[in-house]
């Protein structure tokens, strides 16, 4: 067994980094210059500072967005800035996410020459840090890196050198839901490097901020699994010296369950940091609007975006990540993205903040989720291994960590969830995921009368997945 501990800090980081810097994709990178650049960047560009100095009570707003060419990315960033986004996103293309920089570069070159869009995001490694700095020279808000990369070491080297101060991802949240084959142990070690690099770039008043991706597959993932993965990634980052970190989760379909999850996630995250002696880590909470299949009708999509904004305000999230009414169709236009921001702003300006509103069901849900999460976290730390990343790896291999509908071949796929009559996600079959008999009993009680309604599980699952359509 292994507990999170500051001594798990990578000891020979500078040697490790020297080896990575030999990558041909990093040959233009002067790390001394890059670290100086970041240490002198205006404080308004730091996510950690913006979070710390937030005056308004409503969540900060972040859209998504990334395109292949410099000019189009510049236009998109300006449009999002003008629409009032508090964070400017940089979403990376899928070739770069799979470390296929050569192909991404070839397609980027054709895209630039022929003014075409052949990539589904911004190929940051291909463009490099020098040109990417130019994207943001007139922007006084933090830039957030959004991707899905099991090995993001090269990508994050370039992101930080570009002045991007918020790095999303983690060894589990960016491997199990995003890859079929990438070895989980390697993903965990790669993300140790990223965490440590973020700590190395952090200076007084200019802390690099990390964020984990809680929606995971966004398909029937029970709150306990989200919380445990968020907390494991928070603790792994804290081990490497990260001082500012956001845990996150996605809208699940039940307002009661979302409210309960937010409370449980905050509580378990802080309790875990305290327990293992990480005293000086700032934790933020991020809420993602519905990440599942979206309605294609504009009115319905905007209804969904509106209610998600409302929930984000209710749970006092520090940030909301927004969708657009074009979600069902494909990559949204900058105009649609700006409309999404305006809709969320309207909700925040007119309906938030509010007083206490907790329902009894939501309070019961919170204590259930908290208990399940603590049981699972303990089980992970009790797995074989001399450091936490080894225990986490064992927990995945043994099916103790099991994410519904994750494509990865190491995922156990035995944890089965369905919705109860209030649309909350309930655990029907635990698989190898450890749960106390009391919690299993509570799950059963909360499902009462609903399970039998549809005799075929697969039909019920289909209905539960396409809840919002």
């Amino acid at each position: 067994m292994a507990n999170p501990d500051k001594s798990n800090y990578i000891q020979d980081f500078s040697d490790y980094r020297k080896a990575l810097l030999k990558s041909p994709w990093l040959r233009n990178l002067d790390i001394v210059e890059a670290m100086q650049f970041v240490s002198k960047l205006d404080q308004s560009r730091f996510a950690s500072v913006v979070y710390a100095e937030r005056k308004k009570e409503t969540p900060l707003i972040q859209p998504r967005g990334g395109v292949g060419t410099f000019e189009k990315q510049l236009q998109l960033s300006k449009a999002l800035y003008n629409a009032g986004a508090d964070f400017i996103p940089l979403t990376i293309d899928s070739l770069t996410r799979h470390n296929d920089y050569a192909r991404a570069s070839a397609l980027a070159e054709i895209s630039e020459k022929e003014d075409k869009q052949l990539l589904n995001g911004y190929p940051l490694v291909s463009h490099g840090h020098e040109i990417t700095r130019q994207l943001y020279k007139d922007i006084d808000r933090p830039i957030s890196l959004r991707h899905g990369t099991p090995d993001a070491r090269v990508l994050v080297e370039i992101a930080l050198a570009s002045g991007i101060t918020e790095i999303e991802g983690g060894g589990l949240c960016y491997s199990l839901p995003y890859s079929r084959e990438y070895p989980i142990d390697r993903a965990l070690l790669n993300w140790q490097y990223v965490d440590r690099l973020c700590a190395e770039y952090s200076t007084e008043g200019r802390i690099i901020h990390r964020e984990s991706f809680g929606p995971l597959t966004a398909t029937m993932v029970p709150p306990m699994m989200v919380i445990v993965i968020q907390v494991l990634e928070l603790l792994s980052a804290a081990e490497q010296g990260v001082k500012s970190f956001a845990v996150s989760f996605g809208q699940m379909g039940s307002v009661d369950q979302d409210v309960a999850t937010a409370a449980a996630l905050r509580k378990v995250a802080q309790a875990s940091l305290d327990k293992f002696g990480f005293k000086d880590v700032q934790v933020r909470l991020v809420y993602h609007q519905w990440m599942g299949a979206f309605p294609s009708e504009r009115v319905e999509a905007e209804g969904l975006i509106g209610i998600a904004a409302m929930v984000a305000a209710m749970i006092r999230a520090d940030k909301i990540v927004t969708k657009t009414y074009q979600e069902a169709i494909g990559v949204p236009t900058p105009e649609a993205n700006s409309d999404g921001i305006r809709l969320v702003k309207y909700m925040f300006d007119h309906f938030a903040p509010m007083g206490d509103f907790r329902s009894e069901r939501s309070l019961r849900e919170e204590s259930l989720i908290t208990s399940q999460s603590m049981t699972l976290l303990d089980a992970v730390f009790n797995m074989p291994g001399s450091t936490v990343w080894e225990s986490i790896y064992q927990a995945v291999s043994k099916g103790i960590i099991d994410i519904p509908f994750a494509p990865h071949s190491d995922n156990n796929n035995q944890l089965i969830t369905i919705r109860d009559k209030y649309k909350a996600i309930r655990i029907l079959k635990t698989g190898k995921v450890p749960m106390t008999s009391k919690d299993i009993e509570t799950e059963k009680e909360l499902l009462e009368g609903h399970e039998a309604e549809n005799s075929m599980l697969f039909k019920k699952l289909l209905d539960d997945i396409i809840l919002m359509i």
């Binding site: 079929r180 509908f405 994750a406 494509p407 071949s409 796929n413 075929m456 599980l457 697969f458 699952l461």
Partner: protein, 132 residues
């Protein structure tokens, strides 16, 4: 059963596996990202009566155009072969798409079916007939 090609659409794959087991079939689920050869190898290894191939990203033609001959050459022509999902990019009459893919050596082809029932019904009929 499984998803063919560089296609990571796993949700419907898992649902079909759960459904087939609920209907009482023994299921070997290859998951996502398979070649036609993977299906043949599994059919041989598990002595399958049927293979159910899904494709959702519109690249089915490239991966499926030699499916029938592959099974024939391995002396596995008797294995029922189903293909379904979103088989092409863009819009073309469903019947045309179905005809095109039937020629690649499938017994039944479902292009953008409204639900999964058509697969389960066909499978039931074909398996009953096959046994008689």
């Amino acid at each position: 059963m499984g998803v063919i090609g560089h296609d990571i659409h796993v949700v419907s794959n898992r649902i079909i596996a759960i459904a087939l087991r609920e209907f009482g079939y023994e299921v070997c689920n290859l998951g996502v990202d398979n070649s036609a050869e993977n299906f043949l190898d599994a059919a041989i290894e598990f002595e399958a009566d049927a293979v159910v191939v899904s494709s959702l990203n519109g690249e089915a033609e490239h991966w499926c155009n030699n499916f029938g001959p592959l099974f024939k050459n391995a002396d596995k022509e008797h294995v029922y072969r189903y293909l379904g999902g979103n088989l092409i990019v863009g819009n073309k009459p469903v019947e045309e798409v179905v005809d095109e893919f039937l020629k690649f050596g499938f017994h039944r082809v479902f292009h953008r079916p409204p639900n999964l029932d058509i697969l389960f019904e066909s499978l039931k009929i074909d398996m009953l007939n096959g046994k008689s």
